[in-house]
């Protein structure tokens, strides 16, 4: 079992998803929900044994599996994880459980398809984080689009079709250019193995062109300014579960891609284009934060806040030092929990009031005190309050930026102000004040089911904030190795 643990973690949810799909129509919805929960929990447990069996002292790939797949093109079924991939896998398996619980009562039509889509997507996302063959990576990466396309399109809001097609086409354009880059690398190395690419010598022109192709794929996913416009649309229209997975995991794949491909394969292009990447990141941090400030729609606000936070992540990566990269990863993990939690909070309100407009609310604390305290914690974490997970990453990134250029750090640090401004202002308008209208007056506080997932997330956010050591410890050796790879010129 040890030898195939990664395959197990990937295929268990996919098989579970197919089983759920086989339960058929909504008359058997309760069975579908139970199977989905069982498979998501089992997958989470499997992923925990990945954690317990993981050797933190080394940067080599672990739990590797390698079997020939398409011999004519040297494509292998090649899996393996290092300290950078593992935290994302744990994030994925954990959040899928939460999403299944969160969709328990809210989703009433096509339940089996909903649950199946999330389970299949879970398997594919874990596949993305563990693939060591470029084509296998690409298959998982693209395969994920279809379930997400359906999730937004079937269970989404009124403008869902526009949003989901925009989401799909944006991502597809970027990804296909990445595919061309993979084939080019294959032509140079006669291999699709990602570790082989780390050793492949490439001249600066090749590196820059490949960098741009990868950038197209990852920048769309992250998303970076100016290709971020799909995100607010997709987030606003997606059902709560879809928003959670989008914000918490899918965006992270872009960041993960930069770490797995751009930095180690194209070190010289990364250095040459670092100024450009930093500029885009700073624009995201400052400009998008200002955009978030004026949003009327809660989901849109959180979506823009995600873009700003991810700007922080890419800023950290292109500092090329350990603090920056570790901070970026920590920020991604923490943002996964926090943005997921905030979307779930909006979902809790939306299920009761069917409005996401900030102006429809006011004084929610009077009728939903328990909910208000949970949301307070997540809002604070989003603003980067010390003691929550949001602080760890931001602090490390700013530290890393300081080493490179004081002005980067100063500009990046404005996020602490803007982030607090838009999050807390939204919180104030929604939760505090006098009860705004009769609908708010009639609100009932969170149910036991809602408390379960909010409490799980709250605990994670706090633990990671107070004691981030386990997360940072896992990735340390791998990040050190990555920094060394990025520092070594291929020219």
């Amino acid at each position: 079992m040890e030898a195939h643990l990664l395959s197990l973690v990937i295929w268990t949810p996919i098989i579970g998803g197919l089983l759920v799909l086989a339960t058929g129509g909504d008359e058997r919805a309760s069975i579908a929900r139970k199977i989905a929960l069982a498979f998501s929990v089992v997958t989470f447990l499997f992923s925990l044994s990945l954690y317990s069996g993981f050797d933190k002292t080394t940067a080599v790939m672990q739990f590797t599996e390698r079997a020939p797949w398409i011999s004519t093109f040297n494509i292998f079924y090649h899996l393996g994880i290092d300290g950078i991939a593992l935290p994302f896998i744990l994030l994925t398996t954990f959040l899928t459980v939460i999403v299944v619980i969160a969709g328990w009562q809210v989703i009433q039509i096509k339940v089996a398809q909903y649950m199946a889509a999330f389970l299949i997507m879970e398997g594919l996302m874990i596949g993305v984080f563990s693939a060591l063959d470029a084509i296998l990576f690409y298959v998982f990466w693209e395969g994920m689009l279809i379930p997400m396309f359906l999730i937004i399109g079937i269970w989404g809001g009124p403008n869902r079709i526009y949003a989901t097609i925009k989401f799909f086409l944006f991502t597809l354009v970027g990804s296909l250019l990445m595919l061309v880059a993979f084939i080019y690398l294959y032509q140079q190395s006669r291999s699709f193995s990602i570790p082989d690419y780390y050793l492949l010598p490439l001249n600066i022109n090749e590196q820059i062109l490949i960098f741009i192709a990868f950038f197209a794929a990852f920048a769309v996913k992250v998303p970076m300014v100016p290709v971020h416009t799909w995100l607010p649309d997709a987030h606003v229209e997606a059902p709560t579960g879809g928003s959670v997975i989008l914000a918490a995991i899918m965006l992270k794949m872009g960041g993960y891609g930069f770490l797995r491909f751009n930095l180690p394969i194209l070190p010289d292009a990364s250095h040459a284009l670092a100024g450009f990447m930093i500029a885009l990141s700073l624009i995201a941090i400052i400009y998008i934060a200002l955009v978030a400030l004026v949003q009327e729609d809660m989901k849109k606000l959180i979506a823009y806040s995600s873009v700003a936070h991810m700007g922080f992540v890419t800023l950290g990566f292109f500092m090329f030092n350990e603090q920056g990269i570790e901070g970026g990863i920590a920020q991604m993990i923490s943002h996964g929990f926090i943005s997921g939690a905030l979307f779930l909070c909006v979902g809790v309100l939306y299920d009761r009031m069917h409005s996401r407009q900030i102006s429809s609310y006011g004084g929610v604390a009077n009728t939903m005190p328990v909910f208000a305290s949970f949301m307070m914690l997540f809002a604070m974490a989003n603003a980067g309050l010390p003691g929550t997970s949001g602080f760890v990453g931001e602090f490390l990134v700013i530290l890393g930026a300081f080493k490179v250029n004081v002005w980067y750090a100063v500009l990046a640090a404005t996020t602490l102000i803007f982030g607090a401004a838009y999050t807390l202002w939204m919180y104030k308008r929604v939760i505090y004040g006098a009860v705004a209208n009769d609908a708010v007056k009639a609100l009932s506080d969170v149910s036991a089911r809602e408390v379960v997932f909010l409490a799980l997330l709250a605990a994670t956010v706090l633990i990671m904030g107070v004691w981030p050591f386990p997360v940072l410890d896992i990735m340390h050796a791998s990040v050190e190795n990555l920094v060394a790879q990025t520092a070594a010129s291929k020219l």
């Binding site: 799909l21 058929g24 129509g25 020939p68 797949w69 398409i70 011999s71 004519t72 093109f73 494509i75 096509k110 398809q113 084509i135 690409y138 298959v139 693209e142 395969g143 689009l145 279809i146 396309f149 359906l150 399109g153 079937i154 869902r160 079709i161 989901t164 097609i165 799909f168 086409l169 597809l172 354009v173 296909l176 250019l177 595919l179 061309v180 084939i183 080019y184 294959y186 032509q187």
Partner: protein, 486 residues
């Protein structure tokens, strides 16, 4: 080995042809109720034809009939695929043709003659044999399109198909006659040898090449010789469209190999640029115009045009890897197209053709299983992984990047995104829209349901065996190449 009367290599053709004649006669003595016998015999013929082709599989080419006929791995792979696909075509269409009064012996006999034509094309080692096969196929197809006599659309389609098809055949013959004048032979290896000794800039040679290429382009339906494709696909009874859009594409690939690679490979420098233009125009026009279609059959017709453009990318690479990628592409495409038109047949019922895009509205609510099957097919056609259609595109794009045509790869890939849009629209209609009012339940015969399910799931289930299949394609191409060395 080159004996005049060695008939062994041609046994599959001889068998299918004999059986077609037998069925023609037997059917005369059958009443309407007993027609199932003809149907059964047809399926049996195709099944046995496939078995015979498998048994005669040899990587070494075997020549016979004065070198006019060759049995190599390519012809075997193509014949196996053609028999299998035609078998599935008949299973798909049984209920459909029954409901429309097309369930006649001639229908099966014409289908089988078309199969013989395609098999001869695949094995041709001589211009005349090739032309013979091509015309046998074409004439059978014209009649199959016109089979629904009282349909104006079908008659019009058949007329267009016939006039343009005859013109194309004429072009190709003219090209062949020029080549004959230059080389003094119609035998493909001899032509190859003679062309090899001539200057590749010879104007008359290029003149002949252009005519041959135009003929091929007509038959494949690539831009700018594609005008017949949407009309014929749309006008023909769906069962005939199903046939035209699948097996003949593979046979078309086979004659491209025989003519361009077999006979005129030394002119690669000359035809490469022409094929690049054909491919780029097809991919662009096919994908762009498909967006504007409201009829599913027409949309799939334009999609076929763009797929043929992708297939040509593999050919124009001019390497064995490219040719085998193109073979793999045409095999995969044939099965995707089979499923796509099969779904139209499945959703149609007596007196109603489900060939408008609107008819797919809300399919997920009416029957989520069929919606899922169509989703798999559309994803595969769009070339989105993990479906097998992606691996077909990957192979051809890899082949052209290998010969440093990265710009062409980028164009192809960007138009694939445009293409993804209209396949997505089908998914959107099925999953996101509500069904129209008063749509009756979908009824389909059990055999049709099974074939449909297997066909669609094959888009995913074949994944672990992509390597061996591509290996087979490479063997097939290598065997053609080895035939020229000896």
């Amino acid at each position: 080995m080159n004996g005049i009367l060695n008939v062994t290599p041609a046994i599959p053709e001889i068998f299918v042809f004999t059986m077609a004649c037998v069925i023609l006669v037997v059917d005369l003595y059958l009443s309407k109720e007993q027609r199932a016998i003809s149907y059964g015999l047809t399926l049996l013929t195709l099944g046995v034809g496939m078995m015979l082709s498998i048994m005669s599989f040899s990587a070494e080419p075997v020549f016979t009939f004065n070198n006019m006929f060759v049995d190599d791995a390519l012809s075997d792979v193509v014949k196996i695929a053609i028999c299998l696909i035609t078998l599935l075509v008949f299973i798909y269409s049984r209920e459909y043709i029954e409901a429309r009064g097309l369930y006649k012996g001639e229908y099966f006999v014409l289908g089988l003659f078309a199969v013989v034509g395609m098999m001869v094309m695949a094995s041709a080692n001589h211009f005349l044999v090739l032309y013979l096969g091509l015309e046998l196929l074409s004439l059978s197809l014209y009649s199959l399109v016109a089979f629904q006599r009282d349909s104006e659309l079908a008659t019009e389609a058949a007329m267009k198909y016939f006039v343009l098809g005859a013109l194309a055949s004429g072009m190709m013959l003219y090209g062949m006659s020029i080549l004959y004048g230059l080389t003094g032979s119609l035998d493909i290896p001899t032509v190859r040898k003679a062309v090899g000794g001539m200057s590749p800039d010879d104007v008359v040679l290029i003149f002949g090449l252009v005519f041959v290429l135009v003929g091929l382009a007509f038959k494949l339906g690539v831009v700018p010789f594609h005008m017949w494709v949407p009309d014929v696909y749309h006008g023909a009874p769906t069962s005939s469209t199903l046939f035209i859009s699948t097996a003949p594409k593979i046979a078309g690939f086979a004659i491209v190999i025989r003519l361009l690679i077999g006979g005129l490979e030394d002119l690669h420098g000359a035809w490469r640029d022409m094929v690049i233009i054909l491919a780029v125009l097809s991919i662009a026009t096919g994908n762009l115009v498909a967006i504007a279609q409201t009829n599913l059959k027409r949309m799939l017709a334009y999609s076929a045009i763009s797929h043929m453009g992708f297939m040509l990318l593999g050919i124009l690479a001019g390497t064995p890897t490219g040719y085998s990628a193109a073979l793999f592409y045409s095999l995969v495409y044939a099965f995707m197209s089979l499923g796509g038109f099969g779904m139209i047949i499945l959703l149609s019922r007596e007196g109603f053709e489900a060939d408008e895009l609107e008819d797919l509205k809300g399919l997920n609510q009416r029957n989520s299983w069929y919606a899922l099957l169509m989703l798999l097919l559309m994803v595969s056609m769009a070339g989105i992984p993990p479906a097998v259609g992606f691996f077909a595109k990957l192979a051809v794009i890899q082949a052209i990047i290998d010969v440093n045509l990265v710009w062409l790869a980028v164009i192809a890939v960007l138009f694939a995104v445009v293409g993804a849009f209209y396949y997505l629209r089908v998914i959107k209609l099925m999953y996101f829209d509500a069904p129209g009012e008063h749509v009756p339940a979908i009824q389909a015969a059990p055999d049709l349901k099974v074939v449909m399910g297997v066909n669609a799931w094959a888009m995913l289930l074949v994944l672990p065996w992509i390597g061996p299949i591509q290996q087979l394609c490479r063997t097939a191409v290598a065997s053609v190449m080895s035939g020229f060395v000896s």
